[in-house]
């Protein structure tokens, strides 16, 4: 028997345990809206029993530890999915920006209020150029038609220049994102190494470090949103982190860091700073930025450059053989080499009367050269994979649209998976107010019962003392 004083002591320990349990519940409720928090529970254990002739007699309850509800597998899955989502989000954002700059939309035309292609894009400007050649080829065309043609061609060249510059700015912004994400990732790696140390220190003496583990998991997921990571947990609770096969955090040491470097031409790639090896990133916003920049965005820029380059070559090849007033020949209609620098010849821009539209040095009314330029619009060009200029551009726009649609689909799927994983984790680690309140009542009642026990034992002690007095 533990006796009345033993019972009193048991009740006091019970009061303490129930109170601590309510404190844990209070902490859970306080963190109900903290996404990084994992639900905690006070683990209670029956105290060491007392052997009596009648058998084993319980001696109350002890609070053993505060347990955190975390599933390492789900945490890992969520980190992986965060990498996938981060990569796709980054790609989608960059490609949609490029799409905006192309300015090709279906809209209701201002003239007829019927659906039509955009009047601001390269497609319309290309059509306008060839129509301009055709107009100059018409009988009786004169200076006004030539001035309009030159102005239209300048508009097309400006559109090419503008889109090329804007796509360049998307690349610049992706390069800046890569640098910023690398800097932020390095900070995460440093924090994770520090947290490893703190967690190991706290748990070395048998304690728990739940809030530190929460903080570390949040850092790991933040890091995963920027790059794909591989993690492994050491016996002391430290988490090692590898990126692209290079160990970045080993125990308490931030053994290596990521470094963004210019691989030439402003193309930023990522390598391990100490190891010096290029990191083959497959997930996260850094990989997404690199993928968008070196994939679809580069394809888009190359397509536009090829289109502009062929336009310059084909138009000039015909134009240079034409004749202007006074039999002048040999000039160029366009100058430049690609979309970035295509421009109407400065001489022609300054004086449209010198336009070499005639096929004859002496026949002022000949239109064979300009008619041939007009016919270029519906001719298949070898350098454009046997497509017309407009057809080739339409293919480019379609490719970009497909790329965005694919990324958007994948992103939708990835977000669904992330949501499902999040739900699974919530069901384990999330704080449920109803559950906490129910538990609170249980602990409250237990506390009341223990208090009542003290009161009862107190009365019993008084009885005993009264007996002694009597």
């Amino acid at each position: 028997m533990i006796g009345l004083f033993g019972s009193l002591n048991m009740s006091a320990r019970s009061l303490s345990a129930q109170q601590q349990a309510t404190e844990v519940i209070g902490n859970n409720l306080a963190n109900v809206n903290n996404p990084a928090y994992a639900r905690e529970q006070l683990v209670l254990q029956a105290s060491v029993p007392l052997e009596t002739p009648q058998g084993e007699e319980g001696t109350g309850v002890d609070a053993v530890s505060i347990q955190e509800f975390r599933n390492a597998f789900l945490d890992g899955q969520i980190s992986n999915q965060t990498s996938v989502t981060g990569s796709l989000t980054s790609q989608q954002s960059a490609l949609q920006e490029a799409e905006t700059y192309l300015d090709e939309q279906v809209q209701n035309s201002s003239a007829a209020n019927t659906p039509a292609g955009s009047e601001n894009g390269i497609a319309h400007a290309l059509d306008a150029l060839f129509n301009g050649f055709q107009t100059v080829a018409e009988p009786g065309s004169g200076l006004p038609e030539r001035q309009t043609l030159v102005s239209t061609a300048q508009g097309l060249a400006s559109k090419f220049n503008q889109v090329s510059t804007e796509l360049g700015s998307v690349r610049d912004s992706l390069n800046q994102s890569i640098q910023a994400d690398v800097a932020s990732s390095n900070q995460d790696l440093k924090d994770i190494a520090q947290l490893n140390l703190e967690i190991a220190t706290a748990t070395a003496t048998g304690g728990t470090a739940n809030s530190l583990v929460d903080a570390r998991q949040a850092k790991l997921e933040d890091l995963a949103s920027k790059t794909n990571i591989t993690t492994s947990t050491e016996a002391n609770g430290a988490v090692d982190v590898s990126i692209g096969g290079v160990t970045m955090v080993s125990g308490f040491a931030n053994s290596d860091q990521m470094e963004a470097y210019d691989a030439g031409g402003g193309q930023f790639l990522v390598r391990a700073q100490s190891a010096g090896t290029n990191l083959a990133l497959t997930g996260g916003s850094i990989a997404g930025s690199i993928s968008a920049r070196d994939g679809e965005l580069t394809d888009l820029q190359n397509s536009l450059n090829t289109l502009a380059s062929n336009l310059i070559t084909q138009v000039n090849a015909i134009y240079t053989q034409g004749f202007g007033p006074g039999g002048v020949t040999g000039g160029s209609f366009f100058t430049g080499t690609d979309a970035s620098d295509i421009s109407v010849s400065s001489d022609l821009a300054a004086d449209p009367t010198i336009f070499q539209g005639s096929g004859s040095a002496t026949a002022a009314g000949d239109n064979s050269t300009v008619a041939a330029l007009g016919a270029l619009g519906h001719q298949n060009i070898t350098g454009l994979q046997n497509q017309t200029f407009s057809g080739s551009y339409a293919t480019t726009v379609t490719s970009l649209g497909n790329a965005i649609a694919n990324v958007t689909d994948q992103l939708g799927n990835s977000q669904s998976v992330a949501q499902m994983l999040g739900n699974q984790r919530s069901s384990i680690s999330g704080v449920n107010t109803d559950e906490e309140m129910t538990n609170l009542i249980s602990y409250q009642k237990a506390y009341q019962a223990s208090a009542q026990l003290i009161s009862t034992i107190n009365q019993m002690l008084e009885t005993v003392l009264t007996m002694k007095t009597v």
């Binding site: 939309q105 279906v106 009988p139 009786g140 519906h378 497909n402 649609a405 977000q415 999040g422 009542i441």
Partner: protein, 306 residues
Amino acid sequence: MFTNNFLPNLNTLEQTQNQLQGQASSGLNMTLPEDNPLTMGKVLNLQSEVDANTQYQQNITQLTSSATDVSNILSSLQPLIAQASTIAVGAGNLATQGNLPNAASDVGSLVKQILALANSKDAKGNYIFGGTQNDQPPFVATTDADNNITGVTYQGNTSVLSSEIAPNLSMSAQIPGGNTTGTGPQGLLLDSRSGTDVFSHLIALQQNLSSGNLSAITSTDIPAISADDDHVISQMSGNGVVQSALESASNSTTLQGTALSGQISTATSADLAQTLTKLSQTQTAYQAAMQSGVLIMQLSILQYIH
């Protein structure tokens, strides 16, 4: 966990609602390439055809205007040749009446009128019958002391301006004033293949009338001028064919333009009945989601603990 699902679902419904509302207000089922890449590619190609079609229509209008100019001149010119032919045929009677000098003078006047018509300009100031050498009068006359035209030479060329009226299909409404090369389009007043030489034949007639050389008129001038008249009538007929072809091309181009715009419309127009039904369904789902969400979120065990 409830809010984890509730908010994304609300967002999805709101996005769908916005998208459908946009479709209903614009009448378009897509806007950006990413909405429907394949259709966007089609629209760009169709729009390019629409733009080209508009240009072809403009070319046809311009060619029709040129053909009308030519037709008007031919309508004035042919009766002058016919009149000369009539004078030639009636030369015998005129001789009897002693009117040959007057007749010669009349023919001289006809030559001058025909020369004026042959050197006509269009509205832009270009010579209509000079071929592509249209910046100078195509026919140049030499005159004697009495200001009679004694010879006319053609200084235009035999090329004609042509414009596209459809992909790879060009047409011209122009007729060169002369062509003695034996190739290319026939000349109007001077043509080696048909033997037409209106000015030479009329000047010969004028000279034969002046000299009273009736036999030459009968044997040479009358057949030659008659053949010239036939040639000009044949050119008028050719011009009529060109105008008819242009009218037909214009109708066809207009129909094609309508069809192309229709294809763009079909590919991109929203089915309003379907869109509005979906919008209504989505709105109902959105309202239901919000209402039920609020009800569920308000439920708490705290309400039952006292």
